[in-house]
């Protein structure tokens, strides 16, 4: 009787958990906490705070994993609509922090609606394509594009170009995986290139500076280029094997800005070197690969598209952050997933992992 009870509890707790994905994620989290401990000058409050975030994120993941995809589908439209409403509210009543209007104060807590859209947008698009699966035509792709561009426009206007681009990517992945024809893709690509000058003229000064700085960071070594220069120095000086945990001079002598958040990869890279970087890339590949496999084996179009988008978005965050820290991409406010300090991003990520797990563990159920 007790063993049965334990079994039942175990099934209840772990029944919808994908152990492969969980292990990979835990490994990354471990690396993240270790690096955070170093980046925070061995001050445990940051680490404890991050652990609390992890706790919340796990709960969110567990809940999401236990929601079957066909139920999740029902959340797509409401989540999207709420997201849009909140974005409009931000536009109207949002708090201005650092010159950008991103936060909405709900009295109890402040929320960043754009963060919600990271999941809501692919969810919505996956739902949409799934709904019109049998009769997918160019028209549907156009409508999907419109569904995508509305929130992106609102977010870009805050302005939060980084998040806007990430959400654009996550939505694009859905559209791409749904089978948008290569011809149109090429056309879009050409049009995108052609519209670059227009985009440039619409950019804010600080955004332009970031891009110019990427081309030549030394032009503004104490201003916009400072972050890139110092983080590249940190990465480069790490060498093959790194300076050793807790021994990064760039980190501990305060040369690295934002070292517990957006630039934490520089801390890791300085202390663990090329070997550590290779290892980290492998860990990321494990998560991404697992996500893609889950997508490939998912039972419905909705699940496939959603899983694929989540996996590829995860890749995008990691790639953009590491590219930015190592000096090949402009500085955009993107944290390194599972490594950077920060609760909101972590919760969103784990929501994604939960959905992946739900798709994984529910695949036979639906197929039959």
């Amino acid at each position: 009787m007790p063993t049965q009870a334990i079994k039942r509890i175990a099934t209840f707790l772990a029944g919808h958990i994908d152990s492969f994905l969980l292990t990979s994620v835990l490994l990354l989290l471990g690396v993240g906490l270790m690096t955070l401990y170093s980046a925070a000058e061995q001050n445990t409050t940051r680490v404890v705070g991050q652990l609390a975030n992890v706790g919340v994120a796990f709960a969110v993941m567990w809940v999401a994993a236990n929601i079957p995809p066909h139920i999740l589908k029902n959340f797509a439209v409401p989540a999207y609509v709420v997201g849009i409403v909140l974005l409009v509210a931000v536009e109207l009543f949002g708090e201005i922090v650092n010159g950008a209007q991103r936060w909405l104060d709900l009295g109890v807590t402040r929320i960043q609606p754009s963060e919600l859209m990271k999941i809501a947008v692919p969810l919505m698009l996956a739902w949409y394509f799934d709904r019109y699966e049998a009769t997918l035509r160019v028209k549907h792709f156009a409508i999907a594009a419109a569904l995508l561009l509305v929130p992106i426009g609102l977010i870009a206007k805050q302005p939060d170009l980084g998040t806007a681009l990430l959400i654009l990517a996550s939505g694009f992945y859905v559209i791409f995986l749904a089978g948008l024809s290569w011809k149109i893709l090429l056309g879009l690509f050409a049009a995108g290139c052609a519209s670059l000058p227009v985009l440039w003229s619409m950019m804010h000064d600080y955004q332009r500076r970031r891009i110019l700085t990427l081309i030549d960071p030394t032009q503004d070594p104490l201003g916009a280029g400072y972050h890139t220069i110092q983080s590249t120095i940190a990465v480069g000086s790490g060498g093959v094997s790194g300076k050793g945990w807790l021994n990064g001079t760039q980190t501990h002598l305060d040369f690295l800005p934002e070292r517990t958040t957006d630039f934490i990869f520089a801390v890791y890279s300085e202390e663990f070197g090329l070997v550590g970087n290779g290892l980290l890339l492998c860990l990321f590949l494990l998560v991404i690969g697992r996500g893609l496999i889950i997508a490939a084996e998912a039972p419905s179009l909705f699940a496939r598209l959603l899983a694929g988008s989540i996996a590829l978005s995860f890749f995008t965050y990691a790639f953009v952050n590491m590219g930015m820290v190592s000096g090949i991409l402009p500085v955009v406010g993107v944290p390194l997933p599972l490594i950077s300090y920060g609760g909101t991003a972590l919760v969103t990520l784990f929501l994604g992992f939960g959905i992946l797990m739900s798709i994984r563990t529910n695949r036979k159920l639906v197929q039959t």
Partner: protein, 632 residues
């Protein structure tokens, strides 16, 4: 998709989806490969470069400024030393609104209008990233007060610094000199002598006097500390330290007590006194009146004090002892007499009948003796004792200007003596070539006559007078005069003497020197021109009076001291050595507009010798001496 009705095959759809997924997966792999390549490039290929940059970030080399050497007089009395004090310093480039910041500071610690003016002046002279003092010598209380308000003043700091101080104020100020903040011109010079590294962190440099001329000894060797710094430039820990080497101490030949007595005796007269030790060339006293307080210059002089010193008609900043060039007047006669004896132009017994004037054949001009009607029969001895002009008019003519020049120049006239502080003037000891060079004119026979009595083109510094006297006193040994006797190595404490050997020994006949000395001794005895000044002396000393015209008298015009404006009065001169048989001191005294050498300059010498040889203080310093000094 173009077909109107499509029967979707789930299997086909799935494989199409998986193909797309594979494409995406490949892109992921490719992009990660690009990242890895970038990591490889930065961490392996360019590692050395970034490693150097990181080390550069991390390690800062901080200069450790050495303590400046001390300056001590011959008895160990401190003339210049350092003390540690707190300064309130502003880095102008870090302060957005300087005026507001200074006003704010003034509410925390006292900042006077003088402080503000001095700060402004410093700002004009310095670069804006330098930390400049707005207040010096803060009290403990002020330091605490500022510390509590520190957050209000970014770019303002309290620093403990070593300050130079001259405890004796204006006594011996011209010799000791002063330091000041390094100027752009100083920097150029430092660069030119390749000393830039050693001056990192140093912000003061010797500007005047010994502080300037012995800068390299006094400065010391700057140490370095390799420190790990954070991005704010704050030192986190020390990695290695090369301690500085303090500057060497200067031990002077100068006797501060003698110097003070000499200054006191000088009273309110302008002028100079140089006392030299004949057997070493050491300068015992170097008086230049009026003087100044060198402490004013150390933190940067405020404009008010600067104007007061710089525009003072008495020129207190001039070191008259070696920069003032005056006609030596009759003090030149002993040197002429020695030339006459050495060159065989006069025998001791040769006698002239002095009618009170001298005439050149074919020239109507009369060179008058100072005594109308003349001195009667005059030989060499008497010519010095009573200071007969006529004797030397004739002698000069017979010697000829070039012979005079060639002989007297050996005694140090007409060229720099090479004393160990800067700014020395060479004086003028004319000859034919000099006049051609200077005035593009031929030398006239008449030019020679007044040179014989130390007038005409003749100019000498009080230092040259003292040195010439010292050479006679030392029977022809010529020393380079020097204020510094020894340099004490700060590490080994070994003493290195300065200029121990004479630069040359003049080949003089002993008897000739003795004759001149004997005559000079009689100058200070009854019947001599300094008879009154020498009366009752408990030692034997030699001297020679001199009186130099400041304005030219017309032919036949009489000089009436009372009718002449103070600044047009004659300069009074006196040279002396004592004791006569074994001289320990030689003096050159010049009292500007002092009137007669015998009545003004000689008594100064007497009082000084009384102190130096007998330890007797002048009357003005005997009673209530301390009260009298308190005002200095």
């Amino acid at each position: 998709m173009s077909r109107r009705v499509e029967i979707r095959n789930p299997e086909v759809e799935l494989s199409r989806f998986r193909a797309r997924l594979a494409v995406a997966g490949s892109v992921v792999v490719v992009l990660f490969a690009i990242l890895l390549t970038r990591f490889f490039y930065v961490q392996v290929v360019q590692h050395d470069y970034y490693h150097a940059l990181a080390e550069n970030n991390r390690i800062s080399i901080v200069p450790v400024v050495p303590n400046r050497g001390l300056i001590l007089d011959r008895n160990g009395v401190v003339l210049a030393h350092n003390y540690s004090a707190y300064t309130l310093e502003i880095t102008p480039s870090k302060v957005p609104d300087l005026e507001a910041a200074i006003s704010g500071l003034a509410s925390v610690v006292e900042i006077t209008a003088k402080d503000r003016k001095r700060f402004k002046r410093l700002m004009d002279e310095s670069k804006s990233f330098e930390s400049l003092p707005i207040r010096t010598r803060l009290s403990e209380e002020e330091v605490a007060k500022f510390a509590a308000n520190r957050y209000r003043f970014p770019g303002v700091e309290i620093n403990a610094r070593l300050f130079r101080q001259y405890p004796n104020g204006e006594h011996a100020a011209h010799s000791v000199g002063y330091i000041g903040r390094i100027s752009d011109r100083d920097l150029e010079q430092i660069e030119a002598r390749g000393d830039t590294a050693n001056y990192r962190g140093t912000d003061h440099i010797g500007k005047f006097g010994l502080e300037e001329s012995y800068e390299r000894d006094l400065h010391g060797i700057t140490g370095f500390e390799r420190v790990e710094v954070d991005s704010g430039g704050r030192a986190v820990r020390s990695l290695a330290r090369q301690p500085p080497v303090s500057g060497n101490n200067l031990i002077l030949a100068l006797d501060l007590r003698l110097q003070e007595v000499a200054e006191k005796i000088f009273g309110n007269y302008r002028g100079a006194l140089v006392a030299i030790e004949p057997k070493t060339g050491g300068v015992l006293a170097l008086v230049s009146r009026p003087s100044f307080d060198p402490n004013l210059f150390v933190d940067g002089i405020d404009p008010q004090n600067w104007d007061a010193l710089n525009n003072n008609p008495d020129k207190p900043l001039n070191n008259r002892g070696l920069q003032g060039q005056y006609p030596p007047g009759s003090t030149f006669k002993p040197f002429m007499a020695l030339a006459a004896l050495e060159l065989g132009k006069r025998s001791p017994s040769y006698t002239i009948a002095d009618p009170g004037y001298f005439m050149l054949p074919g020239v109507s001009h009369r060179w008058r003796d100072w005594k109308a009607g003349g001195h009667g029969m005059v030989d060499l001895h008497k010519s010095i004792v009573i200071s007969c002009d006529t004797y030397y008019y004739g002698l000069a003519q017979e010697l000829g200007i070039d012979a005079i020049h060639d002989f007297v120049s050996q005694l140090g006239f007409g060229s720099k003596t090479g004393i160990d502080i800067k700014g020395e003037q060479p004086g003028v000891l004319p000859n034919q070539a000099w006049k051609m060079r200077r005035y593009k004119q031929k030398w006239f026979a008449g030019d020679t006559i007044s040179v014989g009595i130390g007038q005409g083109y003749n100019l000498a510094t009080p230092l040259q007078l003292a040195l010439g006297t010292a050479v006679i006193a030392a029977n022809g040994a010529v020393y380079q005069p020097h204020l510094v006797r020894e340099i004490e190595d700060s590490r080994t404490k070994t003493l290195t003497p300065v200029a121990t050997a004479p630069v040359r020994m003049l080949d003089l006949k002993r008897e000739n020197v003795q004759r001149v000395k004997a005559a000079m001794v009689d100058v200070t005895r009854p019947g001599g021109t300094a008879g009154r000044a020498g009366a009752g002396a408990q030692y034997v000393f030699g001297g020679k009076t001199g009186t130099a015209q400041v304005i030219a008298m017309k032919q036949g015009e009489r000089y009436d001291e009372k009718k002449v404006a103070e600044r047009h009065r004659d300069h009074a001169l006196f040279i002396a050595f004592a004791p006569a048989d074994d001289p320990r001191i030689a003096l050159g005294i010049m009292v500007e507009n002092g009137g007669h050498g015998g009545s003004t300059a000689a008594p100064i010498a007497r009082k000084l010798l009384d102190f130096y040889l007998l330890g007797k203080l002048p009357e003005s310093m005997q009673v209530g001496e301390d009260d009298a000094d308190a005002g200095d």
